[in-house]
Amino acid sequence: MSTDRTPWAAGSVDVIVIGAGQSGLAMSYFLTARGIEHVVLERGAIANSWRRERWDSLRLLTPNWQSCLPDYAYAGERPDDFMTMPEIVAFISGYASFARAPVHTGVEVQSVTSVFGGYRVGTNHGSWFTRAVVLASGAFNRPHVPALSQNLPPGLHQITAFDYRNPDSLPPGGALVVGGSATGLQLAAEIHASGRPVTMATGEHLRMPRTYRGFDIQHWMQVTGLLDQRYDEFDDLDRLRKLPSPQLIGSEQRSTLDLNALADRGVRLCGRLAGLRDGHLQFSGSLRNVCRLADLKLNRLLDGIDRWIEINGGLGATAPYRLLPTRIVDPPCLAIDLRAGGISTVVWATGYRPDYSWLQVPVFDRKRQVRHDGGVVEAPGMYILGLPFMRRRKSSFIHGAEDDARELSQHLAAHLDAQSRARAFKFPKSA
């Protein structure tokens, strides 16, 4: 285990990192390397979210060779496979020990307020005073569920991806999975395989093949530089940061899980869940277009990869090809009668929101998102990590933590230096 100190004493420290997941631990590594005194506060155990807030069969959708943290790479025997939840927890916990991160587990941050020279961090074990705060508590703390959920009949079983663990806990009968993200598709496939007919309702989504021209799609995302694209290269950052996760699954067979694959298994596809009227769920008639948008975008991705291979050579890459367009049944399903439609469960795979209810510093925009510039938050000495496209396209992935943490630790160090110099200047050695 890491240097887990219990009992511990609250007090003063130069930097507090909130959250001992991959982002917090990567930041801790660089702070240690820079000789900056800090602690990492974690409300649960290390890699808490991975332990407690994911479903049983989940695997990373990025291959093992891609899993790395500062100075620490995957060393197992299956580089092309995908880590299970216990393996991810072991990987991250192993990193905490390797990095000798000063983690305090079981410490829940309940408030962060500004004080002169820094911040006061209130926890369930007393208060800390600190000069800088790193928000590494993750982007996926609370499930987001549309308001429509409250109007569904009480007899219908509802569950979010956040609470879902396996299909055994669901009542028998059909399930409606709402949301065409990676999570939605994975749960739809799993629940359908359990013998419960599944209907999937999707709006805009991101379609990707697992492999292309003989390599994992993440290989191409990496070598072409897509994953390293920086936030400041784009005008429509807001849109990019809200993209759903790509429809990928991690499996030994390296299978592609897209809407066609689901349809092949007998999953019924509907448009975005749009409303409820007279006991009927209503689905958008825009399904055809959202599938077209996803297909066009997929082709642009593959075009880009083909162009890169033409210029740079793709050693061992097989011939280019394209996936079949997403099939839409004609006529598509626009409504389901909840009384007679055979739906016993609604699974909400409709995304997550981070929880910053404890952050009492005015750094939020009008939609309650933290305002930041590539991870540098508006408040002095405050940083954020791990959000989608926070600083790079890869920011919210395990392998994205390193570069972001390295750069932000540099900014943080400069901030502490400048602050110290300002103080020294203000309080000259007494005459």
């Binding site: 805009e204 409303g275 008639g285 948008l293 009008r366």
Partner: protein, 189 residues
């Protein structure tokens, strides 16, 4: 995206103004609250005369340059006088207008020169719905099919992307494909 052509793309859309409006309204979202209006008068039979002139937006009452009039009626086949297009045909006109305007705007924004954009629209409808013959048949369209033929200086996939993007950001497309809350009040005069 770099446009290496000598001539500037001109589809007649002032995209710069739209982008500026978008930025201004992001900062002041109250200005984005618009209200569209129309008024109508029965003209006998199934003939209705509608007028469009005023709307609300950017925090105050606005007005079109002139008042527009649209007549709607039923065709002679329905034992009516055919003084105007049917209301459902006007809905198709709304969709065509919205999608085409979107195509022009997106093309301008993406530096694609359009030469011609034509659409034909078709909407099958089973009259057993509105005639109350079969309760399982809806009143409205069974579906809507829009066929675009576009001549533009871009590959087919880019043109397809224009049309897809236009649907994504189309008001009428949204109105037709998604549920909308409609309140109808009545008073006796």
């Amino acid at each position: 995206m770099m446009n290496l052509q000598q001539t500037t793309v001109d589809n007649g859309v002032d995209v710069q103004a739209l982008l500026e409006a978008r930025e201004a309204l992001s900062a002041a979202p109250e200005g984005a609250a618009f209200v569209w209006r129309a008024s109508s008068t029965w003209a006998g039979g199934t003939h209705t005369q509608s007028r469009i002139e005023k709307f609300y937006g950017l925090g105050e009452e606005q007005s079109h340059r002139t008042e527009f009039e649209i007549d709607t009626d039923h065709p002679e086949l329905f034992a009516a006088d055919d003084n105007g297009a049917t209301p459902v045909e006007v809905v198709l006109v709304g969709l065509a207008g919205c999608l085409t305007a979107g195509i022009a705007s997106v093309a301008q924004n993406r530096g694609i020169q359009l030469h011609s954009v034509r659409a034909t629209l078709e909407a099958p409808m089973d009259l057993q719905g509105v005639l109350g013959i079969d309760p399982d048949v809806r009143n409205g369209f069974a579906s809507v099919r829009v066929r675009y033929e576009i001549d533009a200086d871009a590959p087919a996939s880019d043109i397809a992307a224009l049309v897809a993007q236009s649907q994504k950001r189309s008001a009428v497309f949204d109105i037709i494909t998604n549920p909308t809350d409609v309140h109808v009040e009545v008073s006796k005069v």
